[in-house]
Symmetry: C2
Subunit: 189 residues, 2 copies
Amino acid sequence: MPVHELRISLPPWVEELVPWERPHADEDDRMRLAIRLARENVLRETGGPFGAVVFDLTSGLPVAAGVNLVERYQNAMLHAEVVALMLAQAAHRRYSLHGGDLPRPALVSSCDPCAMCLGATLWSGIGDLECGATRDDASRIGFDEGPVFPASFDYLEARGIRVRRGVCRAEAAAVLQIYRDRGGVIYNG
Amino acid sequence: MPVHELRISLPPWVEELVPWERPHADEDDRMRLAIRLARENVLRETGGPFGAVVFDLTSGLPVAAGVNLVERYQNAMLHAEVVALMLAQAAHRRYSLHGGDLPRPALVSSCDPCAMCLGATLWSGIGDLECGATRDDASRIGFDEGPVFPASFDYLEARGIRVRRGVCRAEAAAVLQIYRDRGGVIYNG
């Protein structure tokens, strides 16, 4: 039977873990929240070792959080970044988080985005992209990032997106190692 | 208030339009269904000028259909290809449409995939990617396809995905022109 409807929700622990009212002033502070989501997603066995948060950079407040939900929903698109971006857009009821009355939005991801998430970042009107673990860190445990090239990041920067990579890299990469040590599933297509 | 849940469903006309029981033997036949979805999405004013279908290439039957729902849900990720892939995975309850007992799956899109959809195709275990209108056709009416390079398609082909582009290109590009002539919204991020 064809399916015509999707329902996706975050594991309930995510809402409780995120300090929605606490301003996150610097990039390390923001990144540590994304890493904490990634780590908890592994330890609570709710998904893959990736976390992401959309922040309002003016207030420093989290707007939406995402964790990897690929296995939970058997849906290959539910990377942490896609989940966070979708929920941020739903919160603002706007497909673009950029412009008008909205403050400058940042996507903070515990790992370099794959090809899909990099494209999603561009379409979402994100102003700043902050990444933790690198493509190399992810591929070391078997995750493919897809067709992302240096020119891909240049493409985003040429459209006004400020990209920062390797933020708290060691802490972020440690979560990938925990996942591997626990025998987590590597779910490339 | 943070949002923690998403609900997405196809416009009801999609289920009625797709001939779920009719085998589609050749690529033109498959592409014409994707193009028809794109055209109806414009004419019925339910979204952007893009349609996509996941087919089981063994039987020739459609598995899942997608149309662009970006404006409908104010969600920048709901390109036709992402919608079709998510629904196909939900139908099979599998994040990868490839391997095991599953027949070879094709993603048929009325237009070259953007960077996000190209990544999503890779993660979804698609065996064949068939595209109608080209990146040039889309950019001619103002749509950005993002950081997709010739090397991006090579990356997919190196992983066993057969890519065919320009299938029924003129028919597919005509839908883009209809959308433009009606003053449809161009929703890059």
